[in-house]
Amino acid sequence: MKRLESLLALALAPLSIAVAQVDFTGAWEHPGVFGHEDFNDRGAGPEIGDYLGLPLNEAGIRKAESYSGSWLSVPEHQCTPHPAAYQLWGPNTLVVTTQFDRVRRVAEAIRLEGTFGIDRIVWLDGRPHPPPEALHTFEGFSTGRWEGDSLVVETTHMKPGWLRRNGAPTSERARMIEQFTRFDDYLLVTTVVDDPVYLAEPFVRTTEYRLLPRPGPALGDPLTRNDAPIFYKCFPAEETTADKYRVPHYLPGENPLLDEFAGKYSLPRWALAAGAPTMYPEFAARLERGGNRAVAAPPATVTAAAPPPAGIRSMHVKGKVWAIFGAGGNVTVQIGDEGVLVVDTGSADAAPAVREEIRRLAGDRPIRYVVNTHFHADHTGGNLVLANEPLQQAAVLAHENVGLRLAETGAEAGNLVMDTFYGASKAIYFNGEAIEIIHVPGAHTDGDSLVFFRGSDVVSAGGVISTTSFPSFAASEGGSVNGLIAALNRILDITVAETRAQGGTSVVPGHGRLYDETDVAEYRDMLTIIRDRIQRAIDAGESLADVKRSRPALDYAGVFGATRGPWTTEAFIEAVYRDLAGDR
């Protein structure tokens, strides 16, 4: 048998060209190192204002035009890698390796490594994509399949990123399909990005690589040296004396670089904001006809995000912490030898199912503590079920304002909130780790707390973060927009990214998917930018109606907005306006 295989190998050797058409492994570089196209992307970077040829809608244009290059000086963003939707177009070489399942002896994944990007793994073993609540990353989650002699890769779960590194955005709802095809010693990668938030139609890009003669790590790749991976170091540094919580951005109409770019290339200013039509041949004729025939980017017609799966479901977060979704508000659970600690208890009607899920996760360990991050019924409604353990009632901890608010509303859940605190924080030690309950005043309500599991490195953010809506608050409940921003910055004081601005400390929001530090920073950026836009309008004497017409949340509505329900985009804008205007 061995001899036969040797003969086969010998016989097949001349056929290596045919084999090579599906063998992408090796080191690849753009022809001419920097490539013969996309020069601006591979060199110093595209200029601010060059949104030409991108199918952006009006939300995408607004987001792009507000981008400031100083954004990269923000501590939480300094180590941001090129995201998957851009990585291959930046200055890079590409190293492709195969990862084998040593038991089944099949290729389970292909690994893509590129300069300035972040390693991507393309799973070939048929595994499903993660649930919607899973953490997003800059590389996303990729699965691959063969179509003929091409590898087709589908990627989801990408963090907000960019199509060009001049602020042309992609959202967390973007999906990407790529086709890798080898033609002799060239690799052609066709990438299609679909983003219902910022794109009027899918964005397509093709790029080509040439096989380097020597297999192994790419030349000049800072991640590799002497064919061995080196430890990648990046940590934020304070490079200016500016406020560390600053969020650099341009207010609408105030970005001077747009006019500068248009002037440099003799383009009418409207062309920069035309979005999708700039891709098509007709646009050249429109430019020739003159500057009076402005073309506007298509409107943002965002379809609602797919609703999360029905029912109670849980996910391990980190260390001893799990998150339970589908109970109204999210429930955070810490499990250890001493028992169970629960942060928020969901709504009353979901409580039996939540209790059952905790039992599934923790067995017969009793619930010893319940912490309420604020008083809303979708976070305290399950108190009665979860705290009433048969042998010993769990202690229910919260800021004293939670107890007061519950008492005001007459909610039964309030009867159990006996262990309140009125200071800045409260700490307990349970299941082998310190747990800090940190009061953040005047944020979502006047009784908000963050819960920080020091050992597990998880923050439960309660009402301060909802990844499925704009941040909500009501002056009547003691909330405020600046309090929310301060609370988000408080979270950022706690969190530490693992590497390349992602991973590390995990954050369980009050609603929606898991966050990490970068996600919280993006959320903080969003709220700060919208706050600044509305504040400028107030300073200019604009009415609430004027502000609504200017759509200050346009570029974030596709992710966080709503036109129906208790917290619409309009309600959010009105709350911020009234809060800032002192009309509370």
Binding site: P31, H36, L52, E147, G148, F183, P202, E208
Partner: protein, 276 residues
């Protein structure tokens, strides 16, 4: 289990036979012992026919508008190429009847235009453009006759690339099962064009010479409900280039020819020199 292990060498032998017997190029008129020869159209590995519109999402500043004279950014011109590029004079081109220089085969696919691809006959694929009104003929199994004159579109020979079908030969050799392909066989078209009349790689006179050889790979891709045509182009020109000029372009399928607007060769006036 033993039987399973023994099956793979058989599969490999079959593959050898398939590889040796199946020519990489569709060969009309194959020798005796073969079935009746199949035309290029019958043996097509990918259907490229239809109307396609260029999506200018890359190099927009060098493709959608006419760059200033002498701007050959990222094109590997040699000294002579740079000299010729700097001397570009669109008025002279128009006056000498050479307004179609930017629409020659080596630059055509980078232009903002539409393609109509159809079968000219069973062994010739035709690519027409609306802008510039050019026609390219991709001939399967044909070699340029000695008397071929140089032209904007030159003489193109074409072949289907072998559909490997995701069959991992290395997997066979190592005794592990290959990854099966999904969907129908999917290949590509390789085209080599010679006998080109000297033209431009870009609208602003970045030159290629009549010695240029253009190699292209045409393939298709579907995503998010759209069909795309991709073209990988490699221009070899020892006269003006210091190395091969490699680009890739993409087109989106259109349902019909309702957007087809033929227009003669024309170059919009260049922008003022960049940075001024």
């Amino acid at each position: 289990m033993r039987r399973h292990c023994a099956a793979w060498p058989s599969a490999a032998l079959s593959l050898i036979a398939l590889t040796v017997a199946g020519p990489a190029v569709a060969q009309p008129g194959a020798g005796p012992g073969f079935a009746a020869p199949r035309s290029a159209r019958e043996s097509a590995q990918v259907d490229l026919t239809g109307y396609w519109v260029a999506l200018v999402t890359e190099d927009w500043l060098w493709r959608m508008i006419t760059p200033p004279p002498g701007d050959a950014t990222s094109v590997p011109l040699n000294a002579e190429g740079r000299r010729v590029a700097a001397a570009w004079d669109p008025a002279r081109d128009a006056a000498s009847g050479e307004a179609c220089r930017p629409f020659g085969a080596a630059g055509l696919m980078r232009m903002p235009l539409r393609l109509h691809i159809s079968w000219h006959d069973d062994d010739t694929l035709k690519i027409e453009t609306d802008a510039g009104e050019q026609t390219r003929l991709l001939r399967f199994g044909a070699a340029p006759p000695p008397s071929t004159e140089k032209s904007w579109q030159g003489f193109t020979t074409a072949e289907w690339t072998r559909p490997v079908g995701g069959f991992d030969l290395r997997a066979v050799m190592s005794g592990r099962p290959p990854v099966p392909a999904d969907g129908p066989p999917k290949g590509a078209l390789k085209a080599v064009t010679t006998h080109l009349r000297a033209g431009y790689l870009r609208k602003n006179g970045v030159p290629y010479s009549e010695n240029a050889v253009l190699t292209e790979y045409f393939s298709r891709f579907s995503a998010f409900g759209n069909d795309y045509l991709t073209v990988l182009s490699i221009v070899h020109d020892p006269t003006y280039l210091s190395s091969d000029f490699v680009t890739s372009s993409h087109f989106k399928r259109e349902p019909d020819g309702s957007s087809w607007r033929p227009s003669p060769c024309r170059t919009a006036p260049p922008l003022a020199a960049r940075g001024e």
